[in-house]
């Protein structure tokens, strides 16, 4: 019996190749899309799942309200971790990590003792011995108890050790960072490479050598390992004691007002599970780490389900549409002795076989598309083909989906009464017509929503890229790893500025891009009592050419100038936002108090976007200072390659033993919105999948509609109906459904995309033109799809359609 089912299924496939292709192909596309999304989601939720003690590891978050706005911070004071460990028995260990460039994290030039060439390396992180244990860093060589306990130690990953010491003798070797031969580092450990799906990514670990035990500077991530079964909310509550015991006394000592202290008292500590850091962190935390977005995970999961649903619907639709052809078979089989369950079995077997073939094709398709998808998603995912559970689960899913998709057609088809079929009185298809219309509407509604989403994401991206930023990102080259210049910095800058292709040069890592330095400061108007709260603002250390190199517009006053000696001591330039936050109508000449240091406002600049466009522009100030992590060079118009060559010459003259690393400000800006762009591309590709599946469905459905109405069409042709008439007859039926779908999709799409846009402080407004365009696309695709069939039918010779009767 089963062999016979297989046989029939195979013949059915062979008999109607186009139909089979659409049925299986559409399904396979759906499965491939689903698989890829599943891989993506699996990767996103797998972050930090590798810690054995993941349920006991937390990152500390500080959370308070300043002037009605919730502030969150993940940076803490140096002694904070020790205090946690000694004051709270629930906390087994507390460790600190520093990722800030001026402390030596981030990008460094590195050189093995005895070699001449420096190599630019990006992933330096500072950590203490406790962090080693908390984050379960596995040492392959070296003593894990002491690897980071002494100054000037360095721990590197296996792959970096193999790169620099191919002979495997890395341990105890000497390394210089940024050309600084006065401070040799000793390799004290080789660790396993940090898994790609870790929130904290590093190739090199350096010990924390900062000894400033004050309670006012906040520079360290703090991780804790708690005892099993610790009551976390209770512990969080208890941790507030830290504020009272250490922070408030220190702030009072610094002379902060009582109001400020009151604000501090309302703040609280939160413990964020390590597994939440990647996906569920708040933008406000500004931890500078790479993050995913749980909203996207849900969104993609929804898309995956919808694409699969569309494919399954196609499957059901096509199966019932074909019922006309199979009704006779059902009737016959019943008269020669088939029971209903025989037929149900037959149709289910067929469906399962179709489904399994589709799954196989789907896996192959996913496998073929994975490299492209990896590129789009900036990930390194693999199909877990060798995992013991993968193929069995897929097989089970294939059988299950096959059965589910086959149930309706199976029961629908097997219910035909033989006498009706054989007498020819059964009007197949009319009964299921409404259901099929419903399914078509569902498919197209989904597709139109996805089209709307695609269009809006595209527009928003375009908006971001072409937005006036308040600074000029064009033709600005950012040289990285310039710490290495040390005291040669001034000379280097001068030499660059002398180049004819260079307009101006500025040295600072405080740049309006990701990876630029950031800080948090509080300013008060000097002598004005605002309750001591002050205005939180960035204080960027820049040089004299910063404002004109970045093309920032001055609104009032002047920029920094070497003519005024005091500019390098106590002059400050603020942005418009900060002026209004401070409540200053005429800010020039006013004095500001920052940590008891007094600055005089000499200029006000226009606001410029120094964060992602997801966020509002906040208060920012510029002072003259040293921050030499990067040098930005504004080029004259002309051939950038030539200009770069000249810049490189100067660099090589100054630093002969390290290659120049550079990037363009414009690229970095795009990079800052790469996550949005990436999500947009992923969304768009899957929207395309969905639309493709829906169109395949429509194509096949219209084919069968035409086949069913062949006799009617022939009769109409005999009676003299013109081509146009028949074409309309066939096409309008489907277009009606598409129009209904558009009507349903627009409000849903509007609502959903509005929610998405709300995530951007700066975004486009959704206008009618987007909906019109989406509607036009949907209609156009539908018309093309259907026309292929209906034109063919309308041109049919009438005798052909009638002869079969």
């Amino acid at each position: 019996m089963f062999k016979n089912h297989l046989n029939i299924a195979w013949r059915t496939i062979k008999k109607d190749k186009l139909f089979t292709f659409i049925k299986i192909g559409g399904f396979a596309v759906g499965i491939a899309a689903c698989l890829l999304i599943a891989l993506f989601i699996r990767n996103e939720v797998s972050y930090d799942e590798h810690y054995a003690n993941k349920d006991q590891i937390y990152r500390v978050v500080f959370q308070g309200e300043v002037q009605g706005e919730v502030m969150k911070s993940t940076h803490f004071q140096l002694p904070f971790a020790d205090a946690l460990q000694s004051d709270f028995p629930e906390i087994t260990k507390a460790g600190k990590v520093n990722t800030i460039e001026i402390f030596g994290a981030g990008k460094r030039g590195m050189r093995v003792n005895g070699q001449k060439e420096n190599t630019f390396e990006e992933n330096f992180v500072l950590a203490d011995q406790e962090t080693f244990d908390i984050l379960e860093i596995q040492l392959q060589e070296g003593n894990p108890q002491t690897a980071l306990s002494r100054p000037s130690s360095i721990v590197m990953s296996r792959s970096k050790a193999d790169k620099y010491f191919p002979n495997g003798d890395a341990l105890q070797q000497t390394i210089f960072l940024d050309n600084d031969t006065s401070k040799p580092y000793t390799v004290t450990g080789i660790m396993e490479d940090v898994p790609e799906n870790s929130h904290l990514d590093f190739d090199f670990l350096l010990p924390i050598e900062d000894t400033n035990q004050n309670w006012t500077n906040q520079n360290y991530f703090t991780y804790v390992l708690v005892n099993p079964n610790t009551d976390i909310p209770a512990l969080e509550q208890k941790m507030s004691l830290i504020v009272e015991k250490y922070i408030i006394p220190a702030q009072i000592k610094r002379g902060r007002s009582a109001d400020f202290i009151d604000v501090l008292r309302t703040a609280e500590y939160k413990l964020q599970p390590v597994t939440d850091i990647y996906l569920k962190s708040d933008l406000k935390m500004q931890d500078g780490l790479k993050h995913g977005d749980i909203k996207f995970v849900w969104l993609f999961a929804a898309i995956a389900i919808f694409v699969l649903l569309l494919a399954v619907i196609n499957f059901i639709n096509l199966s019932t549409a074909k019922s006309a052809n199979r009704a006779k078979e059902v009737g016959l089989r019943k008269t020669i002795g088939a029971f209903r369950n025989n037929l149900v079995g037959q149709f289910l077997t067929e469906s399962v076989i179709f489904s399994i073939i589709s799954f196989v094709l789907g896996v192959v398709l996913a496998w073929a598309l994975l490299p492209t998808f990896n590129q789009i998603a900036a990930k390194n995912m693999e199909l877990p083909l060798s995992a013991w559970w993968f193929l069995p689960i897929l097989f089970a899913a294939g059988v299950l989906v096959g059965i589910l998709a086959g149930l309706y057609p199976a029961f629908y088809l097997s219910a035909f009464r033989p006498v009706n079929v054989l007498k020819g009185t059964l009007s197949v298809g009319s009964k299921s017509g409404r259901l099929r219309s419903g399914l078509v509407i569902f498919q197209f509604t989904t597709s139109v929503i996805l089209i709307i989403g695609t269009l809006i994401i595209y527009r928003q991206m375009d908006f971001i890229v072409s937005k006036e930023l308040g600074y000029d990102k064009e033709r600005v080259v950012v040289l990285e790893g310039t710490n290495i210049l040390g005291n040669k910095m001034e000379a280097f800058k001068e030499q660059l500025a002398e180049l004819s292709q260079v307009k101006s040069v500025t040295a600072t890592n405080y740049l309006p891009i990701d990876g630029g330095s950031r800080n948090g400061n509080t300013f008060m108007v000097d002598g004005q009592d605002d309750g001591g709260r002050g205005v939180p603002a960035q204080k960027w250390r820049v040089d004299y050419d910063y404002i004109n190199t970045l093309g920032i517009q001055l609104k009032a006053g002047r920029g920094f100038s070497k003519e005024f000696a005091y500019d390098s001591i106590n002059s400050i330039v603020i942005n418009s936002k900060m002026a209004s936050e401070l409540g200053l109508k005429d800010p020039i000449g006013k004095k500001l108090d920052n940590n008891s240091q007094i600055f005089t406002i000499i200029g006000v600049i226009e606001d410029f976007h120094f964060k992602s466009l997801k966020e509002d522009i906040s208060s920012l100030s510029l002072v003259i200072g040293k921050d030499v992590g990067a040098v930005s060079v504004k080029l004259e118009k002309g051939n950038p390659a030539e200009a770069l060559a000249s810049v490189e010459q100067v660099w090589n003259r100054t630093i002969p033993n390290q290659a120049l690393n550079y990037t363009f400000l414009e690229e970095e800006f795009t990079q800052m919105h790469a996550d949005v762009q990436r999500m947009g591309s992923i969304f768009n590709s899957f929207a395309l999948f969905a639309i493709l599946v829906a169109c395949l469905g429509l194509f096949a459905l219209s084919a069968f509609m035409v086949e069913q109405r062949r006799k009617e069409i022939s009769i109409r042709r005999v009676l003299g109906a013109p081509f146009k008439n028949i074409y309309q007859l066939l096409t309008l039926d489907f277009l009606k459904l598409v129009v209904i779908s558009i009507g349903i999709a627009i409000p849903i799409g509007w609502y959903l995309m509005n929610r998405w846009l709300e995530g951007f402080a700066y975004h486009i407004n959704i206008g009618w033109e987007i909906f019109s365009l989406a509607a036009l696309i949907a209609l156009g695709v539908a018309i093309v799809t259907i026309s292929y069939q209906s034109i063919g039918a309308a041109l049919l010779k009438p005798t052909k359609g009638l002869r079969t009767e």
Partner: protein, 220 residues
């Protein structure tokens, strides 16, 4: 007695009016009979055949098949009955297009859960008997009408039915092919198979041992 119809009525209601398809049919069929049902188009011949074959229901009356009252049987039981004892032959052959001759013949046996080896033997037997061994791997579309009907008859016979119902078995055939099929029926009848055929042709009707004439659903 193989089957017995007593006062069978069948109607459809359109616009509040009953239109009778079968009206007061009384018929007894003995084992081994060969009955021809005749009548003009729309007289109820096929309906009668379908009722006898239990493919269709009736609204009033009594139908006993091998001493079982068909009316009181459940659908499933009824289906069992006809599957076991009745073979059908159709005007337009109604072979399964996707199956070869051999597989078409095998199908009823599969549904009857006959074992594979036994099935093969029965099919081979039937192919041999109908002289179509050479055609066993062909699909219906590759056969002439007469050959298709031959397969149709063979398929009806393969499960050893007590009764063969043939609805205009020669309707789509030319006269020579038709004659062959009728000769075949005659021969089968002589071997003991009961046959009820519907036909338009006086000549074919003559093959039967008894002729029933229908007009507007009544026996005349």
């Amino acid at each position: 007695m193989l089957l017995e119809l007593n006062n069978i009525f069948k109607w459809v209601t359109t616009g509040g009016q009953r239109i009778f398809l079968l009206k007061d049919i009384n018929l007894q069929v003995e084992q081994g009979e060969f009955i021809s049902v005749m009548g003009p188009s729309g007289s109820g011949k096929s309906t009668l055949l379908n009722v006898i074959g239990m493919l269709d229901t009736f609204d009033e009356g009594e139908y006993n098949f091998m001493d079982e009252s068909v009316y009181s049987l459940k659908e499933k039981h009824r289906a069992n009955l006809y599957k076991q004892y009745i073979g059908f032959v159709f005007q337009s052959y109604h072979l399964l297009d996707d199956l070869t001759v051999q597989e078409n013949l095998e199908m009823p046996l599969i549904y009857k859960k006959v074992k594979g080896s036994e099935r093969k033997a029965m099919v081979a037997d039937m192919l041999d008997r109908f002289n179509i061994v050479g055609k066993k791997d062909l699909f219906p579309a590759q056969l002439s009408g007469g050959q298709q009907q031959l397969v149709g008859v063979a398929r009806a016979l393969i499960a050893n039915p007590k009764l063969i119902l043939a609805d205009e078995p020669t309707g789509n055939l030319n006269s020579k092919q038709g004659e062959e099929i009728m000769e075949l029926f005659k021969q089968l009848n002589e071997e003991g198979v009961t046959i009820i055929q519907v036909t338009h042709s006086e000549k074919n009707a003559e093959y039967g041992s008894r002729i029933i004439n229908l007009l507007d659903g009544r026996m005349v």
